[in-house]
Structures are given as structure tokens and as C-alpha cells.
Point group: C2
Chain length 123, copies 2
DNA sequence: ACTGGACTTGACGTCGGCGTCAAGTCGGAG
DNA sequence: CTCCGACTTGACGCCGACGTCAAGTCCAGT
């Protein structure tokens, strides 16, 4: 299949696919006239990239999963590097969650205090 | 005081101060030779901007607080627009937290499954 | 007089993940 | 032959909050 079909089946755009190729994430062989030609494995790689990206992985962080699949593993997270990437992302998410929760609490406290000052007689 | 001193006392850089001025957030009067001259109110405004930015407010979203202070209020969140900004930010943070928590759960689930597959005999 | 700092404006660089436009090529349908 | 749609590469735009460099001004100290 060519780039347009893969983009449609993968729920993305041709621009994104060319970008992934520029990163070396999703390469393609070329037909005689220079067009990119993808197979079902390409769709599988794209699905892996997209599902990880949707979770919040940076494209660079999807690389171990993609390479794992290209190495013939049936699952992108069957390799140690992928598991390590999971762990890093998990730690990153936890830290981000903690920061955001703290920020939310500060905002909520500020909001409550501001409302107190504006309506000192409210119940 | 001039821009260097304000930057130091406010815990930021001269570049940031000029940027805030370009946004109309933190204006300054000029001395005869064209240098920016700030007073203690300027430091107060800067403190308001920085504390909000540190919580996660975009600079544009600190504008109501700054304008509130410039209107003579002792607190930046004494005005309705500031309270509204608090509410918007709170909602935004809650949404972001929910998304991140969902993402973390997905990653954790994936990680656990991957580890299961790698060590099928582990306890 | 000279040097060193602090100041000024202007403008380009950074990071990620593409969107979007330009200009050209190619193959098939009418 | 012509036209349309899909493809190609190249390159600039975008968002936010500045960092950084360039080139010039100005003032205080020695």
C-alpha cells in the first residue's frame, strides 16, 4: 500500500508518516517511480507508534518498541529497552501528576481564599 | 531600581522582564537616558506574575491579576476576572490530571503485562 | 583616557510534532 | 491530449517563554 492508504488506515496523515520516516522510525521501501510502499508490518509499526504517542510518549521514546517489533518480536514491549521506557515514562507521569496535584491544591486554596474575601458574609 | 536589580530581587532575568513588558504585563517608566526604572510596586507585580507562572499559569492568564493590582487592589485575586481565571485554571488542571492518571494506568498495566510475559515463572 | 558593567533595541534560535504551501512528477480515466 | 488525484522533496509557520548574540550607548571608577 502507498502512503495515503497507510495514513488513512492508521488514522494519521501523510505528513506524519513522512515525518516518522525522517526520524528513522517508520521506513519504507520504494517502488520503481520512487513512491513509498508499505506492507502490513508497516501498519503494525504505525499502530505501535500511535498508541504509545496517544498515551503521551514522545516519538523518540517509541523507538525501542518499534525496533523491538522490527527485530521480529510479536509485541513491541517484549524487549528490555521497551520495559525500561515504560518505567521511565511511569516515573515521569508520576512526577508530573504530583506536580499538577500540588498546583491544583494551591489554585484551589487561592480560589477559596479569594472567594472568602469577596463574600465575607457568605455561609 | 533598574532592570538588573529587579531581575535579581525577583528571581528572574532581564530578558524575561523585557519580555513581560513587550506583552504589556510589566511596564516601566524611563529615566532621562532611556533606562527602565522600577519601583516597589513593580516588584510586587513581578512577584504576582512569577508566583502564578510557577503554579502553571500561562503569562497571558496572569494578566487579570496584574491589572487587578494596578487598579489599586491589595491582592491580585480581588477582582472577578482573577477569580474566573482561577476557576478556568482549576478546571484545566483537573482535566489534565484525569488524562495523565488514565495514561499512567495504561502504562502501568502495559508494564505489568510485559513483565509477566518476560518472567512467566516469577512469583 | 580607558576599561568594565549595565543598559538599550533587534533579531534569530530552541523544543516537538507536525500543518501547509510550492513546484514538480506520474499514472490512469475520459 | 488533458485533467485529476496521489505522490515526491523542500522549506517555512506555529505555539510559549524566553536564551543568546550583535552592536551600540552610557556612566562610574582608576
Amino acid at each position: 500500500m502507498r502512503i495515503g492508504e497507510l495514513a488513512q488506515r492508521g488514522g494519521t496523515t501523510t505528513r506524519a508518516l513522512r515525518y516518522y520516516e525522517s526520524l528513522g522510525l517508520l521506513t519504507a521501501r520504494r517502488t520503481a517511480n520512487g513512491q513509498r510502499e508499505y506492507d502490513e508490518d508497516g501498519l503494525r509499526l504505525l499502530a505501535e507508534i500511535r498508541s504509545l504517542a496517544d498515551i503521551g510518549f514522545a516519538l523518540e521514546d517509541t523507538r525501542p518498541f518499534v525496533e523491538c517489533l522490527r527485530d521480529g518480536h510479536t509485541s513491541g514491549d517484549a524487549c528490555p529497552a521497551s520495559v525500561a521506557a515504560y518505567r521511565r515514562k511511569l516515573a515521569e507521569l508520576d512526577e508530573c501528576l504530583a506536580r499538577l496535584a500540588a498546583a491544583r491544591d494551591r489554585v484551589r486554596t487561592q480560589l477559596e481564599q479569594a472567594e472568602q474575601r469577596r463574600r465575607p458574609c457568605a455561609r
